[in-house]
Amino acid sequence: MADLPQYAGSDSAMRVALRWGLYLMLAVFAAFYLLPLFVMVTTSVKSLDEIRSAGLIGLPRDITLEPWQYAWSQACIGVQCEGIAPFFWNSVRMAVPAVVLSTLLGALNGYALTKWKFKGSNIVFAMLLFGCFIPFQVVILPMARTLGILGLSNTVTGLVMVHVVYGMAFTTLFFRNYYVSIPDELVKAATIDGAGFFTIFTRIMLPLSPPIIVVCVIWQFTQIWNDFLFGVSFASNTGSPLTVALNNLVNTSTGVKQYNVDMAAALICALPTLLIYVLAGKYFVRGLTAGSVKG
């Protein structure tokens, strides 16, 4: 479509008006998408008094970082009044190992299933892929019991395991689709030279993989960091991830409602993934389309 306007004959007033209308519409939508972020940021740096008097919209008169400090280290989540910091670190301790492990497993599986096909490998892949589509409600009940039996209820370790198991379908899919496009001749040549399964993986495949590793890590990190269902089902206590703590903080009905603290906490929860989106948006979108359209 990008070439069309050059065929458009003489530019009339009509065309100019249309152009302006177009930009106006785009700007209105941009405002719609930005509104919640704007409101969150401004609310989080206002004092409670100012919120009560000035309301929702409007720039803060005096910027205060107190709500951020309060949310980080003092706000009460349930009976514990140490802020959301411990839960932030829970999320970090959950997401980092889960992302690393599921990416590694996905790379190995994707490599094995494309470059070393065996009888039934396509069926194995199809069965792995099924995990992408199930609504997790259908597994949380037995999972909760299994974690209980293993003594992993309400632990970060338990959540890491859950995320690795259910993230694997996606990571395998990512790597499988990527490795399919790498010529088999490369592997064949290396085999003739005497290289084995793991040598080829570390010397040939991995050096070719950075683009898909970035996509996979971003996708997995966003999914795991933003997860709520597993967190609230398996770890609703001190082992909670940040999303669960944030929800508890916001929906608590005791005491004065500190909207500015809620917003600061929400922003702290959003910052890691937002940062990744801003820094590596291209890869983020690629993962989103690949992960959602499922190849």
């Binding site: 096909k117 409600q137 259910y166 085999t191 793991f198």
Partner: protein, 305 residues
């Protein structure tokens, strides 16, 4: 065509080492496969079994036939959840598609600052539904949010939707559309950019107007994107849980319950495992009803192509 077989041909005689190499692949995949067999297939089977059992507080493996399903479908709250799913899902999908397509077409007109606009439209997708639920809850709060702001301007509008059991479901739609429509835009934009420019030019030289070119040529040629977007959005809608929890928590009353929150409530709060399992199985069936035909058509298409 397998790599291993070819390597064997070159080496003239398949050696023990090669036979082992062929096994390595299976050994590497085996643990993942075992995990999936247990945690996906085993668990689904377990849930299905529990849904046909006497389970209440604790799993009870006595066979009860379809009793739990009868109980489920006799629960008014489940009917609310299903009705809401259709209301929410239907409008969520329709609005996301409409806005996504409109934005994609507008962005496709050689727009200045297209990159920046795209970034703005898509960033909500990076956020947790809990974060966006928190933000919208604050904006839609009648006492402090937009309504209070409009009143301070002297406009007497009422947008106390969150506390109105008829309107609360539309708050969910609003927040969900806000979060996901940018993503649909990205899908459509990628589709539009893939359209053959020669055909478009030819149509233009034949005197077709821009709206006509879009309606007759471009949009029909990106039909597969509509299908993908539809499937992704339906999947999102059926699984919606976080947003409801953060924005309305199913309320006021049970007016914004969706199957996912229903399932969670019955399983973890009311200790009705059997009914919870039955509702989870219904959700699985719904997702499968959307996904299986899609995958079937995709795979058939891949074979033909």
């Amino acid at each position: 065509m397998s790599v291993i077989a070819d390597a064997g041909l070159v080496a003239a005689r398949p050696s023990l080492r090669e036979a082992l190499q062929a096994r390595v692949s299976q050994i590497v995949v085996a643990p993942s496969f075992a995990l999936v067999l247990f945690f996906v297939y085993g668990f689904i089977f377990w849930t299905i079994y529990v849904s046909f059992s006497e389970s209440r507080m604790l799993p009870n493996y006595t066979w009860a036939g379809i009793d739990r399903y009868v109980q489920l479908w006799n629960t008014p709250r489940w009917h609310t959840a299903i009705t809401n799913l259709f209301l929410f899902g239907g409008s969520f999908i329709a609005l996301c598609m409409a806005i996504g397509l409109a934005l994609a077409v507008m962005l496709d007109q050689r727009i200045r600052a297209e990159g920046a606009l795209r970034t703005i439209y898509l960033y909500p997708m990076a956020l947790s539904f809990i974060v966006s639920g928190t933000a919208w809850k604050w904006i839609l709060n009648p006492g402090t949010g937009l309504e209070a702001y409009f009143k301070s301007l002297g406009w007497d509008v009422s947008i106390g939707w969150l506390t109105d059991s008829q309107m609360a479901i539309w708050c969910l739609v609003l927040a969900a559309v806000w979060q996901s429509s940018g993503f649909v835009m990205a899908l459509f934009l990628a589709g539009l950019r893939g359209v053959d420019q020669e055909i478009v030019k030819a149509a233009y030289l034949d005197g077709a107007t821009l709206p006509k070119i879009y309606m007759r040529i471009i949009i029909p040629s990106i039909r597969p994107v509509f299908l993908s977007a539809l499937v992704v959005l339906a999947h999102l809608a059926i699984k919606s849980f976080d947003l409801v929890k953060a924005l309305t928590n199913g309320g006021p009353g049970t007016s914004t319950d969706l199957p996912a929150t229903f399932m969670h409530n019955f399983t973890f709060e009311r200790n009705q495992l059997g009914i919870g399992a039955a509702s989870a199985v219904m959700m699985l069936c719904t997702v499968m009803a959307v996904i299986v035909p899609y995958l079937y058509s995709e795979l058939r298409g891949a074979k033909r192509g």
